[in-house]
């Protein structure tokens, strides 16, 4: 927990611990980057597939059942900490669904910077969908296509102004 406590960036080990095994990523899966015990459970209550467990003690970090998880993304825009995203590994690319709360929204097809957890630009990425609905209550879901080598690095995008 050390570096996370000092600067808000989890270690690679911590990050990998939230991922399922590689073959399960052929379909999208939710990655819950919730490393601390905080009193919070919306991700488990909103999941329509009962794939996220927290239990009676709402301080328990969420556990994802990757067999049940369809990567629908409902937990992504309901997480108050914006700490969840989904990822899918295709033949050519990775496809992420990330929460986004800034204006102006990126456009479909826009090339953006891919950013890591340190806020550093690691590569370019493409926006493949800008998903908005009233149910999402102002948290946009950006579908982002990223190169495969950034599976454990990519976390968000930054528009190229």
């Amino acid at each position: 927990m050390n570096l996370l406590n000092k600067n808000g960036v989890p270690s690679l080990e911590q990050i990998k611990s939230r991922f399922p095994s590689k073959e399960l990523l052929l379909t999208p899966k939710a990655i819950t980057e919730c490393y601390e015990e905080i009193p919070c459970n919306p991700c488990s209550t909103v999941c329509p597939f009962d794939a996220i467990t927290i239990g009676e003690d709402i301080n328990t970090p969420p556990v994802v059942d990757f067999d049940k998880c369809t990567g629908c993304g409902i937990c992504v825009y309901n997480c108050p900490g914006l700490a969840i995203f989904t990822v899918q590994e295709n033949e050519e690319h990775l496809l992420f669904k990330i929460p986004y709360e800034f204006v102006p929204y990126p456009n479909l097809g826009e090339i953006v910077h891919a950013v890591n957890r340190n806020g550093e630009i690691i590569s370019k990425a493409v926006i493949t969908k800008v998903q908005i609905s009233s149910r999402q209550d102002k948290t946009v879901l950006l579908h982002v296509q990223v190169a495969k080598e950034y599976l454990h690095e990519f976390i968000t995008v930054r528009r190229i102004i």
Binding site: N5, N7, I58, G119
Partner: protein, 364 residues
């Protein structure tokens, strides 16, 4: 002088919740709020709240405020509201004196719930009174309530939840947050909030504090310094940062001064934020029929304030002879919600504080 069964001082989450439960039980109340709006600090919180469904988790603070206010508006015959009204006096014979603009009046209460919340602490450093140095809550009011940009660049002092959340909200409003300074070696608030900031390229500097603010009649730059393990500035580690806004977010202090007027038994408990009333398990102070709820009895989160408000509303209703029809079920539910909210590592401070307070608990 008008008599009320229940007077609730403070129209924030605790006060609004108490009024609602009391109204459900058939108790008439009046909420007295010194600001021009109800909702307390919730009205400027644009982020989704934590906790569980019962405390409106995943709902934005601004929307929780609307829900709580609407709950109160559902009982126009039971709940009276006075805004722009300050309770300026609280007396032994359960008389309250009120000041609304130029108008001064007195009312009498059978029972009182003090839900006056908490206010931001200050920090001592050279030139800390320069315009441009704001409490973090003040910055939120400017940008989220009035849509006014606080400035161009901000340095945030304090990495508790408020400091981290307000920094994120500043970025959302288009203000550049240059850094978050934290005097301790570790980040104070939830790490998910810190992670959100790091992604945006904001530096979180631990073991660092503000030493001096510089500017002519308004802030222009600051001098920061690293701290050693005893909170002393380390020589020769000073850096200058140009900024027009400095936000101070170093904790909240309960606004418990009214309790001093009736000589309620108080205790200074740092883990609860400061001077709080000594209370029994029903949130009653040492003065019969005067209760406290929300941040004024211990600084926590809005989720706890809502539950404490509900709880005291329930207790007071029974005391007034209007036992809520679901009294027992709700009593246990509210107690278990509070326990749940406080059981994790972030609840440790509150648990320690309440333990310390309980040592002074008087027998009634």
């Amino acid at each position: 002088m008008t008599n009320y069964d229940l007077v609730i001082i403070g129209g924030g989450p605790a006060g609004l919740s108490a009024a609602k439960i009391a109204a459900e039980a058939g108790v008439k109340s009046i909420i007295i709020e010194r600001d021009y709006h109800l909702g307390g600090q919730l009205v400027k919180q644009t982020h989704m709240f934590f906790g569980s469904e019962k405390q409106y988790a995943k709902t934005r603070g601004i929307d929780i405020a609307k829900i709580l206010v609407n709950n109160v508006m559902d009982y126009p015959d039971s709940i009276e509201v006075m805004t722009n009204t300050t309770v300026v006096g609280l007396y032994d014979d359960m008389v309250l004196t009120l000041l609304q603009n130029e108008s001064y009046s007195k009312i009498k209460a059978k029972s009182i719930i003090i839900a006056t919340g908490a206010s931001e602490k200050f920090l001592a450093f050279e030139n800390n009174d320069l315009p441009g140095i704001y409490g973090a809550g003040a910055v939120q009011t400017l940008m989220n309530v009035h849509g006014v940009l606080p400035g161009e660049n901000v340095v945030m002092v304090g990495s508790g939840n408020i400091g981290l959340i307000v920094s994120y909200q500043l970025m959302q409003a288009g203000v550049n947050v240059k850094a978050v300074l934290e005097a301790s070696p570790t980040i104070g608030g939830y790490k998910v909030h810190a992670s959100k900031l790091k992604r945006l390229g904001v530096d979180i500097l631990t073991s660092t504090s503000i030493k001096k603010a510089i500017g002519k009649d308004k802030l222009e730059k600051i001098i920061i310094s690293k701290l050693d393990n005893d909170w002393n500035y380390i020589e020769k580690t000073e850096t200058e940062i140009e900024t027009d806004v400095l936000c101070i977010s170093v904790g909240l202090s309960p606004q418990s001064r009214l309790l001093g007027m009736i000589e309620a038994k108080m205790k200074y408990v740092p883990t609860l934020g400061g001077l709080v009333a000594v209370i029994n398990k029903h949130h009653e102070t040492s003065i019969k029929n005067i209760f406290v709820a929300g941040d004024v009895c211990g600084v926590e989160e809005a989720s706890s304030a809502i539950v404490e408000g509900c709880f005291t509303g329930l207790i007071v209703s029974e005391r007034l002879g209007h036992k809520h029809q679901n009294h027992d079920k709700l009593y246990n539910d509210f107690k278990s919600q509070l326990q749940n909210l406080r059981s994790g590592p972030f609840g440790k401070k509150t648990r320690t504080g309440l333990e310390e307070l309980r040592r002074d608990e008087f027998v009634k």
